[in-house]
């Protein structure tokens, strides 16, 4: 009995001071970003489903987007997908410890994010100018504005938040206090913003195209 206890104690003692191996083999901060992305994907999913629910239940759902809006959405897609590429170039430079080019590409990504936001706001202003409000529009189902502004507004908030994070992280990285790991985690977030847009364009713009 006593021998068994001492064997158990030995087994416990041998693990003191050692850490259990990480099951996913990634840093905790990266795992947290993945968990945030998953929860945010479900949030956007819920918003898009709510939009689909209301759209399907409305007999007079407006289809106001003319070809100029559709081509504008393609330009916005081009800008956002290109920004995903530039953040990858920044990450590659950061992993090679080339701080100046990495910072430069992070800022290029932020500028593309600002450009995307400006184009998006122009689209909003155009719709507002045509009389679209959150619970009123000149064409039909009043909830059109609420769903459009909610979905695109949440996405735009993500882009603006991402731009602020890109500039802040870029500056801290340039100062030498952040590493390539931080750029990588921010890049994950930025790609996610890009990914959400790939569903917003077809479901919100193309499905409501003027025919």
């Amino acid at each position: 009995m006593g021998g068994a206890v001492s064997q158990a104690n030995l087994a416990v003692d041998s693990h003191i001071g050692t850490m259990e191996a990480k099951p996913f083999a990634i840093p905790s901060s990266k795992l947290v970003m993945w968990l945030f992305i998953i929860s945010d994907a479900v949030t956007f999913g819920a918003l898009l489903f709510a939009y689909g629910y209301i759209r399907n239940a409305s007999a007079d759902w407006p289809t106001p987007f003319e070809s100029s809006s559709i081509w504008n959405s393609l330009l916005m897609t081009f800008i956002l997908v290109t920004s995903s590429l530039t953040v990858l170039i920044a990450l590659k430079a950061a992993q090679a410890d080339d701080r100046a080019p990495a910072f430069r590409w992070v800022i290029v990504t932020a500028v593309l994010g600002v450009l995307f936001t400006v184009l998006h706001l122009r689209e909003w202003m155009d719709l507002i100018g045509k009389g679209v409000r959150t619970f009123h529009n000149p064409w039909g189902a009043p909830m059109f504005g609420a769903t459009f502004f909610a979905i695109t507004g949440l996405h735009m908030a993500h882009v603006i938040g991402g731009v602020v994070a890109l500039i802040a992280t870029g500056l801290i990285y340039k100062a030498g206090r952040y590493s390539a790991k931080h750029i990588e985690i921010l890049a994950l977030y930025w790609h996610f913003v890009d990914l959400v847009w790939m569903f917003v364009v077809p479901l919100v713009y193309l499905m409501n195209m003027k025919r």
């Binding site: 083999a25 489903f49 399907n56 025919r211």
Partner: protein
Amino acid sequence: MNSADTSKSKASGRVYVVYAVIMVLAVMQIVVAMQRGPSLVFMLLVGVLQAWLAVTYFMHLGEERPLLVLALIPYTIFVLLMMNVIWSDSFRLLRMRPH
């Protein structure tokens, strides 16, 4: 150039190909929607393909341990699929609304 450098170079070249494919798919979506009218199934299929390319090659999920993929993706898909229960009520509203 050693094998690690070669594989890194291949990976960065692949990113440009994926970028081009995602853009071509985006243009295709719009052209098809303009010529034939928007089809929800087609739009969603193209969107899912674009998202898969972005997650695998931009976010490098394909290079992580399979355990991480298993911990993240099936549950997300399950939750999104479960949201489809709303459609019966949505059709009920459309057909039973007072006119």
